[in-house]
Symmetry: C2
Subunit: 363 residues, 2 copies
């Protein structure tokens, strides 16, 4: 399929659902992509099966604090600088670019890069959602190195990292992004078509588009948009309620906090506590305990329109519904859980797949 | 001349004099150099005139907090990794290596690199003393870029910086050094023989050796070691006294503080206040006001032996003499003073060359 000015909104809406409250505002990525498509024409979203085995794909991403990204919209030049620096370094022309996240703004920024460079975008990513750190991709589980990583800012500075593991790539890139004013563009996880098919999460960009489109058409035809999302993501409606408290603080560059929902209709008499660190991480029901946790996806949507709400958008009094969706099976391995499970984020809870938790609720 | 196990001590002593109290403990660099010379043989210290016009010289240095360097002595491998990474990046074999500082441990670390790689060391540096930041070299005044800069740690991580100016190189390298555990090895300011002759401070390593040797021989022959240093540096004895107070704190990675000396013999009845930020920066006499300031060199030595004392070595009750030495004329230009003058370090005093201040004292 092609990504055009007309369906960009659907991509961005779906990416916000998959962003589970974080990953930066996809609106920014959409703005960049919109401008690039205006200027250079639409982008081909190609199926991972179409990428030759040894073709080089260079993912493109923004790295930094979401709050800074809002104020420091990339000029575009730094995204291309990071991409092309890595291409030159590898001495091979890229066949395509790719998103490392299906959620948040890093799902849509590569659309802008693809348009500007007249390259296709591979319909896959490394998370199937949004996560805050560089090493938190399924590529890491596949032994693929984040290095060589290129980092560029709008002033013309470029860095290359050649690190012994992906955690170091995160550490060096993070402090560099701060020195670059809080955000920067990176080229990382260069991989081949064969590696994408084995280690990436496939068709996640078209899933984002599909989710966004289904919300829009449900709204237009007065159907329940939440049902259409659950249908496409094998998800569950976890809770419906009114936001009665939202606490936020910044800790180590993360927007950390919790939101408390007072149940309405079927959830009357119960409360839901939602813990977030950029992304929504744990949902606790007053009657049932933990009903969903990272790496499964937890997304808050407007109770009426079904439009996804980021953690920054959570407002007192807002009536919302909370959706839980199963993550990729790649994240449910021991290795996957040690990389992005509740433990890593500081929660001493045993991860249980959302399907299992739902089954227990219905027993 | 050759640098051998036998004359290394003289280099290190002289480098401590030129280190003006900071630059890290040359003893560490000496340890590394000693070990490398044991293993690989002595090092040729070559005159800058011997380097062909377009031969490539890659300076080698350690970057980090002096206190960390004491605990994190380089293994050697990271110094070679940084050097060779830059060589590979430039696609040219290095003709020689060089020190970017004539004072402190970065004067002696390149001796170890030269020994391990069987390369000559050029008798020149970029400061003629020690300074705390990457951009504070005469190369910057000559428009020579610190980039491409390579950074390596003992774990096998390597970074490359390609920055728009040398101040950015400092910023990115500084935060990287912190992520690398507080210190790292760098390859930077790759330059040609012609550039060295125009922009470096020449014969500063042999000056360090000469100073160290003169202190040692004066001690052996019961002559005044301070006189021998003044003789070789066009310096002045600024003060003699007992340390009656030393204040130290850490501010932004610098060891900041002041030492107060109570005058003895000719200085009886006066006090001297010595401000330092890693290096000694300003000397104020209670009777005469500022009698020396950065970029001129201020070094404290033991009153009897003439052995130089670093700011970390300043101890209550110690009887010392304070020496002032003129800096390179390159630092006394407007551009030089804006890079390393009192203003940059936060002192609102007008720099006056030490010769002028001494002349005023004698009027």
């Amino acid at each position: 399929m092609q990504i055009t000015r007309d369906n960009l909104d659907d991509f961005a809406t779906g990416a916000t659902v998959l962003g589970t409250g974080g990953g930066g505002d996809p609106y920014l990525g959409k703005l960049m992509a919109h401008q690039a498509i205006e200027e250079h024409g639409p982008v081909d979203l190609i199926d991972p099966t179409e990428v030759p085995d040894d073709a080089l794909v260079i993912p493109s991403a923004m790295l930094g604090a979401p709050t800074v990204m809002v104020e420091k919209l990339p000029q575009g030049g730094e995204a291309l600088a990071a991409f092309e620096a890595l291409e030159t370094h590898l001495g091979q022309e890229a066949y395509a670019t790719m998103s490392i996240e299906a959620g948040g703004l890093n799902s849509t920024i590569p659309i802008a890069v693809a348009a500007a460079l007249n390259l296709p975008l591979v319909d896959a990513d490394g998370m199937g959602r949004a996560f805050p750190e560089v090493q938190m991709v399924t590529f890491t589980l596949g032994g693929i190195s984040a290095a060589p990583m290129s980092i560029a800012d709008e002033k013309g500075n470029t860095l290359f990292l050649d690190t012994v593991d992906n955690q170091y790539a995160e550490s060096f890139a993070r402090v560099t992004s701060i020195e670059m004013g809080g955000a920067c563009m990176i080229g990382t996880y260069a991989l081949t078509g064969a590696q994408i098919r084995e280690h990436a999460i496939l068709n996640s960009l078209s899933l984002a588009h599909d989710i966004g489109k289904s919300i829009r058409t449900a709204q237009q035809h007065s159907r329940d948009p939440v049902e259409s999302v659950l249908d496409r993501t094998d998800g569950y409606e976890l809770f419906e309620g009114k936001l009665i408290d939202v606490q936020r603080r910044t800790e180590g560059g993360f927007a950390v906090g919790e939101a408390i929902l007072d149940g309405v209709s079927e959830c009357d008499g119960r409360t839901l506590t939602l813990d977030f660190q950029n992304e929504n991480l744990v949902a606790r029901d007053s009657a049932h305990g933990v009903i969903a946790s990272v790496p499964d996806l937890i997304t808050v949507v407007d109770a009426e329109t079904g439009d996804p709400v980021t953690t920054e958008g959570l407002k007192y009094g807002h009536r919302v519904r909370v959706i839980g969706m199963p993550c990729s099976p790649k994240w449910r391995t021991d290795e996957g859980l040690s990389l992005v499970g509740p433990d890593y984020f500081g929660y001493s809870i045993d991860y249980r797949p959302i399907e299992e938790l739902q089954e227990a609720l219905n027993d």
